[in-house]
């Protein structure tokens, strides 16, 4: 195969990518998903500036219902639920995005490298990842948080590391399809630097599964970090955080349901958005792969 022909194999990928973006934007599921996520991200980002009160400020008796100025009532310590909801997303979203990015980057690097290297290196890498996968993610996080304490950076790293094996597996699988193709083997044999091969051939082909994983991982990051805060090992009081609010106020479900339902609703909307996006994208990818080259 000539170099000329190998260029041709790149082009369709690029063309597919351009078409992909268009398809994503036209698809109802993915757009709805992205819109939901964006909405919540905006809420988390701008919320603190819109909050009428400080999130830790005591404004009234605990668990009182909505009144003027206190649109969503008060929580367990008499703080304004609205202000806490507006302020309670930032840390969670930032941490979740960071953890997802760590997981995706680490997972992709490890997975693709492992596929490329193959053989014993591949086998050992996968086994090491299996050790991490042996722990359910929350248990994995709890194991280290219980020993080292609940600090945000540690949490982000732990959740990111917990993602890595699954991402690596998927990326490895995607990379495998390319790495074993004739022209790649040929490119390796004639000494084209690995990085060039990876960049030109492998990465274009894994972008789509990567995007799908991104959506799923984001959904899962938010779920896990919120769950850890719910258990008391994540974000600590008195910081406003949606997961923590669900835990702090959950006994007042009948008394002041807003203090619980609103925070879990925003968490839910975000995770549903992420899942919709991933689902929609997954279908597009499946269709494209089925139909295309």
């Amino acid at each position: 195969m000539t170099l000329h022909e190998s260029v041709h194999t790149v082009a369709p990928a690029a063309a597919r990518r351009g078409g992909m973006a268009r398809r994503v934007l036209k698809n109802g599921q993915t757009t709805t998903g992205m819109a939901l996520m964006l909405g919540i991200v905006l809420l988390a980002a701008i919320g603190p500036f819109l909050a009428p009160h400080l999130p830790t400020e005591i404004v009234g008796r605990p668990f009182t219902g909505p009144s003027d100025g206190i649109l969503l009532g008060t929580d367990v310590l008499g703080r304004d639920v609205l202000s806490r909801v507006l302020s309670g997303g930032r840390l969670l979203i930032v941490m979740s995005v960071a953890a997802t990015l760590i997981g995706l980057v680490l997972g992709t690097i490890i997975g693709v490298t492992s596929a490329y290297v193959s053989g014993l290196g591949d086998f050992l890498t996968m086994r090491v990842l299996d050790v991490i996968l042996a722990f359910p993610s929350i248990v994995f996080a709890l194991l280290f948080v219980s020993v080292l304490g609940a600090n945000p950076v540690l949490l982000v790293v732990l959740v990111g590391v917990a993602h890595t094996p699954s991402v690596a597996r998927v990326m490895r699988g995607a990379a495998m399809t390319v790495v074993t193709r004739d022209y790649v083997l040929w490119a390796r044999s004639i000494g084209i630097p690995p990085f060039t091969i990876l960049r030109a051939e492998v990465f274009p082909n894994i972008v789509s599964p990567l995007m799908v994983e991104a959506g799923l991982r984001l959904m899962w990051s938010v779920g896990t970090i919120a769950a850890l805060s719910f258990l008391g090992y994540g974000i600590q009081p008195p910081t406003a955080d949606w997961g923590l609010m669900a835990s702090e106020n959950r006994n007042a479900l009948s008394l002041q349901p807003l203090s619980v339902v609103v925070p879990i609703a925003v968490i839910g909307i975000f995770t549903i958005g992420a899942n919709l996006f991933a689902e929609g994208l997954g279908r597009i990818v499946a269709r494209t792969e089925g139909a295309g080259a």
Binding site: T32, R61, F63, L255, V261, A265, I272
Partner: protein, 517 residues
Amino acid sequence: MTATPPPRRALGLVLAVTSVVALGLGLTACAPPDKGASPSASAPVDGGTLRVAAPGSAKDKIDPNINSGSVIDLLRTEQIYDNLTKYDSDSKLTYQLAESMESNAAGDVWTIHLRPGVTFHDGSSFGAEDVIATIKRVIAPDSAANGKSLLGFITADGLTQIDDLTVEVHLDQPYGPFPEIWTNKYLRIGSSDIDAGGQPNGTGPFVYKAFTPGTSSTFTKYADYWGEKAHVDTLDILDFADNSAALNALKGGQVDITYSVPLTEAKAVDDLPGISILDSETGMYLPIVMRTDVAPYNDPRVREAFKLIVDRQEMVDVALNGYGAVANDYVGRYSSCGDPDLPQREQDIDKAKELLAEAGQANLQVEIAVTNGTAGMVEAAQVFAEQAKKAGVTVEVNNMDASVYLDNYLNWPLTVDFYTDTYLQLATRTLTPGASSNVTHWNNPEFLSLLNTAFETPDADARCAIENQMKAVEYKDSGNIVWGWANVVNAYADNVHGLTPDTTGKAVNRLNLVWLG
């Protein structure tokens, strides 16, 4: 694969999402159902199993004299063991295992006459040797008994058994409030062979059957109880680490009484059909405790500053959800002596900042240790932390499991505790060096000499004047921020009868009076 027109797919999706959102919104709109008419109480009925939920941990102990002082330990020991004397629900002294007590003219020899015909659960008779054995057990030099400091005025060789039902106590100094001291929850009377092993054996209305620390205990009715016999056949006392879980268990019908109701939910709980709350005004207080022997609290200016930081009304409103009253930095609420003439301390952030700056502690950063000993404690710490910000003090709240908290009890530099007792007993137990509950490590000579004088003063009115002076010293110097008196709020199912509000806070402890029906 067939291509589907997007609208149809979206429709199904939108339907699903909408229904979930609508569900969520619907939840918030639902009001709790109306409470029906409550059943009227009639004559007591015997039988049944009573289940009580209380805050406990794996450190539970059923020992009448040596336990963690937790709510659940005291609850359990009160069912199995009796005291010599006891306060009734109006805080009046009554005689229990003792029939009467009298002193000589000087007040330094007291004679205890014991009630005849009382038996232990194992059938043996109760008598003077059991009382003497219990006292010796408490005051022994290496004893770990919580009440040891309370009986510091008694020596082992001062105890004489006159006959099976009479004990004479010879003291080095006169002691005024002798009958009152025996009401203390740590001075319950066990049998003389208590340390010989075997299961808990007392004279109380319930007999020990089973016990798993941190989980539950089961007792049965003692048919030969000397006093008012229990109505229920079986009593289960169940541990809960979490007030809300206990409340949920009550709501779900899995327990009949819960000791500790999260105060923020009390009104809502009362509105629930089938459940009522018992609200007792008590002398209980949840002090913010500062150790007077470590920095920065060893500086009296820092202590005063902290006392000025607190917005007491907000603490009562938020930490106690209104179930309480503002207090003024001395202990002992109910006193026949009336209140000392001290100005009510209010929040004064400017003065607090001034004092802290003077003491070189501007922008102080501290940690407060707390656990869920009873409702309102954790909340008090959190509200205090929020209020402290205004004075530039950063307080980190360290909320921990009860067993971890108790492991380091008496060592925490800043913490929240809870007490309920009469004044002189509190003074002895919590404000004297070496006492079992002197969490502030307070050692104030003026206070201590006043305390000694009070004990040696048999005349109640003269004692009053001394008491008020003691309170003034506390107000100025102690390590306790006594910001409020807390009501004790318990919750119970409507089929539970026999509970009455109790100023000692022990409404739920008198379980032999409870019947189900």
